[in-house]
């Protein structure tokens, strides 16, 4: 599991999730502080709305959303983060490589 560090969930652009999948990731965790205790007051509120719309759009386009996990984890919840990461990595390993998506990368070039 590799980490991309950003100051707040508000900074997370859905393009980053798409680029991660484009670069061959089989699973993505998108996470940050809980709503109401955002250090920047409302970053995660905006992120939540974005994620709600993004998730539905990805489902409509047929992306396997079992591979993308959204979760609120605050800086204090070290144990819960570890548990979440282990759970998600096991789940993604069980799902295996995301071949459906991989086939699209490099397709369509003569």
């Amino acid at each position: 599991m590799r980490v991309l560090r950003v100051p707040c969930t508000g900074r997370i652009d859905y393009m980053m999730v798409l680029k991660a999948l484009h670069k061959g990731a089989d699973g993505v965790i998108v996470s940050g502080c809980h709503p109401n205790d955002c250090h920047y007051t409302s970053g995660n509120y905006h992120a939540r709305r974005r994620w709600m719309v993004f998730k539905k759009m990805m489902e409509v386009m047929g992306v396997d959303m079992r591979r993308i996990t959204f979760s609120w984890v605050s800086a204090a919840e070290g144990a819960r983060w570890a548990q979440l990461v282990n759970e998600v990595t096991d789940q993604v390993r069980a799902l295996g490589p995301y071949t459906e998506f991989r086939q699209v990368i490099g397709a369509g070039i003569e």
Binding site: R2, P7, C8, R11, K19, S42, G43, H46, V85
Partner: protein, 663 residues
């Protein structure tokens, strides 16, 4: 930048135990752009930092990646070290090998490979780093304190004694706040007026403090160090400079039957009045709602009587705009009224009063000059019941929190009553006694043991009036919940402490966040209790949560220290991790299309409109511009912007894209 140095740290055993740091340093040598890669046992130690600095100078590095612990630990350390070695501190990034790799994996080839991968991610990021310089923001070294209670006065005095100008804005005609209404104060029972009045006078006469009483804050613009505050000076209807405060107008004013707010409605006052004898400034105000002249156009007695004819009936409110560097909110609290209790008769029983009304009864400057007389018929009450937690800790009343000060002042009220009516019987219905301050519990014990105040642990379910007596129906949970009925002459409810009226409106004016009860939200409960999330605005006292006087004064000095600290340097330097809207040469000017969707995303109102003018002065386009003073660098606007016109320095699109490309 392509002369990058990688410095891998063993962090003692924290990294070295599971990651082969020597091998990692070796592997990093062939990352494109890396010209120097070494490892060391403790990079953050002095020798470690010096080693890095020498390497920067010797290999003329223009970018540094320190692979060690979490950036939250030592990023400042390594950035300062890099800065001292001559490169821009923000060209130094940290790869977190500890939390992201060594601590979470066992020793092995894969762990070492992952460590190298993490470093490669940060090397790609550094290649896209731009040199950044701390943001310099000028500071106007004048503070504004909103709220003239004991907290506000203390803040004003501390800042003024720190050598800075202060403007103290108070909504009512005089400073003093709730404390000026109190008789004595716990736990020392020293007279509230005696300890407060000197402070009020000191504040009034302090050369650095400007009092703006009977004034309210109307509008706040600008940002930390550069606020523009518009204050509405409500018309006193008299010329303050001419008025000597002789009080003749007050004596002669025929309209004497107006309910006196200072005495919580127990006493009356004239239309032209001074809230209380020791008021500062001791200048009267005309109550235009009740003054006969304003109702019928006749009377004008005060104008005739005034020796310096200072009365100005047609005086208008005045709007004053001030340049302010920092603002401290000290707007205090209000008590829940007795009419909020259906079970106690909705406040129609005159002899059921709240804590502040009891203070006025007990106060020498009160309507009864300190003699215990019950409001209905003025007789001295033989039996008084005090009910703690009236409204507090009660979800149904919307006040689930504890109001903190009622246990103490209820014990005080009981003692004062017993001192004034030795033969009287005082009962206190309580749930728990919250007396956690210095000498607090001893004070309550004194009330119980010496003044024989009868404490009953239980709630009062109902009060009704029966032939001149108030029948208090409660229960004593310590005696198995046995019902207790007391025929009382007077009942004092220790009602809940709530946020002051219109506190939410004031918070919105200052763009300060507030909680669901209207109390202002502190930046961090433990680490930044006197600051808000809005840079340059601080908090003191009960406006933030129920507070007693000692805490309020302590917080006030804390807030003052923050302001004096802020004013201690000419300019304000802030982390340059802020968002920037791109600019280009004409004719494009920027890729921003001026839809201002980003403005909704910014909790700090840091996004302003900038009009691009043609030479002819005609506005070509309106673009977004981010105020570096206000922006806290969360990046929400960056992800909201459709055309990617905004970028966050330190976490720019190019940097994050480069990192993603190496995953």
């Amino acid at each position: 930048m392509s002369r990058i140095g990688v410095f891998t740290c063993h962090c003692g055993e924290n990294i070295g135990a599971t990651v082969d740091c020597v091998k990692v340093a070796e592997m990093c040598k062939d990352i494109p752009g890396v010209v120097h890669s070494v490892e060391y046992k403790y990079m953050c130690s002095d020798p470690g930092q010096r080693q890095m600095q020498e390497a920067i100078k010797e290999h003329k590095l223009d970018g540094v990646v320190v692979a060690a612990c979490s950036p939250r630990m030592h990023e400042p350390t390594f950035r300062r070290a890099a800065g001292d070695a001559g490169i821009n501190p923000y060209m130094c990034e940290m790869a977190n090998l500890r939390e992201h790799c060594s601590w979470v994996h066992e020793k092995g080839e894969a762990t070492t490979q992952k460590a190298a991968d993490l470093i490669r991610v940060l090397v790609e990021k550094v290649k896209h780093n731009e040199p950044l310089h701390p943001i310099k923001v000028p500071v106007t070294r004048t503070a504004m304190v909103i709220g003239g209670g004991v907290g506000g006065i203390q803040v004003a005095l501390d800042i003024a004694n720190g050598g800075h100008k202060v403007v103290l804005v108070e909504k009512s005609p005089s400073i003093g706040g709730h404390m000026s209404q109190l008789s004595e104060t716990f736990p020392t029972l020293d007279c509230s007026q005696c300890i407060l009045t000197p402070r009020m006078v000191e504040a009034a006469q302090h050369p650095n403090i400007t009092l703006m009483t009977y004034s309210e804050v109307e509008k706040v613009d600008g940002f930390i160090g550069n606020f523009k505050v518009t204050v509405r000076k409500k018309a006193r209807k008299l010329d303050e400079h001419l008025c000597t405060g002789c009080g003749l107008c007050i004596q002669k004013c025929p309209n004497k039957k107006i309910s006196d707010e200072f005495n919580e409605g127990l006493g009356t006052r004239t239309a032209i009045y001074v809230p209380f004898p020791q008021a500062v400034p001791n200048k009267p105000v005309i109550d235009t709602l009740n003054c006969t002249y304003y109702k019928t156009g006749k009377c004008k007695v005060c104008e005739k009587m005034c020796p310096t004819n200072a009365i100005r009936f047609d005086q208008e409110d005045e709007l004053v705009t001030l340049d302010i560097g920092a603002i401290v909110l000290a707007t205090g609290f209000k008590l829940m009224k007795t009419d909020a209790f259906p079970e106690y008769g909705y406040g129609k029983h005159k002899d059921i009063i709240d804590g502040m009304q009891f203070e006025r009864l007990a106060s020498a400057s009160g309507p009864t000059s300190g003699v215990m007389k019950r409001p209905s018929d003025g007789r001295s009450p033989e039996t008084v019941v005090f009910i703690a937690c009236s409204g507090s800790r009660d979800r149904a009343k919307g006040v689930p929190y504890c109001s903190k000060i009622c246990c103490m002042y209820t014990a005080k009220h009981a003692m004062l009553y017993k001192h004034k009516v030795h033969s009287g019987k005082a009962y206190v219905f309580y749930m728990d006694i919250r007396a956690a301050g210095k000498d607090y519990d001893e004070f309550v014990r004194r009330a119980i043991e010496e003044d024989e105040v009868k404490y009953i642990r239980g709630r009062v379910s109902k009060i009704y009036e029966e032939d001149g007596k108030l029948i208090v129906m409660g229960a004593d949970t310590l005696m198995g919940g046995e019902p207790v009925v007391i025929k009382a002459d007077m009942v004092v409810l220790a009602t809940a402490v709530q946020s002051n009226d219109r506190s939410e409106e004031l918070a919105q004016t200052l763009h300060v966040s507030y909680d669901s009860y209207g109390f202002f939200a502190e930046a961090h409960p433990k680490l930044r209790p006197v600051e808000t999330n809005t840079a340059g605005i601080f908090l003191a006292g009960a406006c933030q949560a129920p507070r007693d006087i000692p805490e309020t004064v302590a917080q006030a000095s804390g807030a003052a220290a923050k302001v004096v600290g802020l004013f201690s340097n000419e300019e304000l330097t802030r982390e340059p991790i802020v968002a920037v809207v791109n600019r280009q040469a004409a004719p494009v000017y920027s890729t921003c299309v001026g839809c201002f969707i980003c403005q909704g995303a910014c909790p700090y109102q840091a996004i302003e409109q900038e009009e691009i003018m043609a030479r002819s002065g005609e506005v070509i386009m309106t673009l977004a511009r981010i105020n570096p003073g206000l922006c806290q660098g969360c990046g929400t606007c960056v992800a909201t912007c459709r055309t990617k016109a905004i970028d966050l320095q330190g976490f720019s699109n190019e940097q994050l894209y480069a990192e993603l490309m190496t995953l």
